[in-house]
């Protein structure tokens, strides 16, 4: 079973890297980009076979390590 964790900065936390990417896109002529937020995606291969148990465990991983919940939010996708 695979899990995908998406980690993004919380709304309201300024993202200087996203802003730099937005500027660069503007320089390349992509004028319609109003905002860019940059995050990360983490893929996990799990031995688990039970989806619900896997989701609970991956959420615990997010809380303990994968995300810093002071500034980041996460979503877990089991696939």
């Amino acid at each position: 079973m695979k899990a995908r964790v998406h980690v993004m900065l919380k709304d309201g936390v300024l993202d200087p890297q996203g802003e730099a990417v937005r500027h660069a896109l503007g320089h390349l002529g992509f004028t319609g980009v109003e905002a860019v937020r940059q995050g990360k995606m983490i893929e996990l291969d799990l031995a688990a076979t039970d989806r619900a148990a896997a989701e609970t465990e991956v959420k615990a991983m997010c809380e303990k390590l994968l995300a810093n919940t002071v500034i980041e939010k996460y979503t877990v996708e089991i696939c």
């Binding site: 200087p16 890297q17 303990k64 390590l65 810093n68 002071v70 500034i71």
Partner: protein, 222 residues
Amino acid sequence: MKAAVITFPGSNCDRDLADAFAKAGADVVRVWHKDTEIPAGTDVIGVPGGFSFGDYLRCGAIASRSPIGQAVVDFAGRGGHVIGICNGFQVLTEMGLLPGALMRNAGLKFRCRPQRLKVATTDSPFTRAYAADAEVTYPIAHHDGNYVLDAEGLARLEGEDRVAFRYIDNPNGSTADIAGVLSENRRVLGLMPHPERVVEDAQGGTDGAALFRALAGMLAAV
């Protein structure tokens, strides 16, 4: 005073920090990240600067969960003194010993320069030797020193007089110019600038020496 300085893979200020403690009269023990205990009799733990674990995932994230990490949290929980400098500050926030988080510098540049700071409180074992509102210069060298804290957390920090240092001419976008913060019991300090790099004339300045001397004086007395 007995000081324990921790070394993670990628730490690069551990020797400087050990030297600064030794110069202030401390017995220094070096502790490896795979160790699980802080040596008996330790009065203060130093978490040094560098790029622990290559800054993978987030700066300080892996180090904060390494085997020695829990021992540092437990030591602080028992009322032990801890100082985390630069990457060490990032580690202490990741451990939850200090509030807030350190993000990429607002200007996206690695900032490396002597940095003027204001001592924002003298009510701590680390800053008690400085005059109120003293101005000091410590070097900075970081890419992720942008201190972020929500409004509620900031109000609490300010209300409890827990901002230890503020930048004069903010180099990285930190909230309220904050360069260093104290824990609730004032015994844990995290700061981005490097006091251990200014403890003797050969380093081009001595503004940091008072911090280590004050700590040594206080901990020798207990």
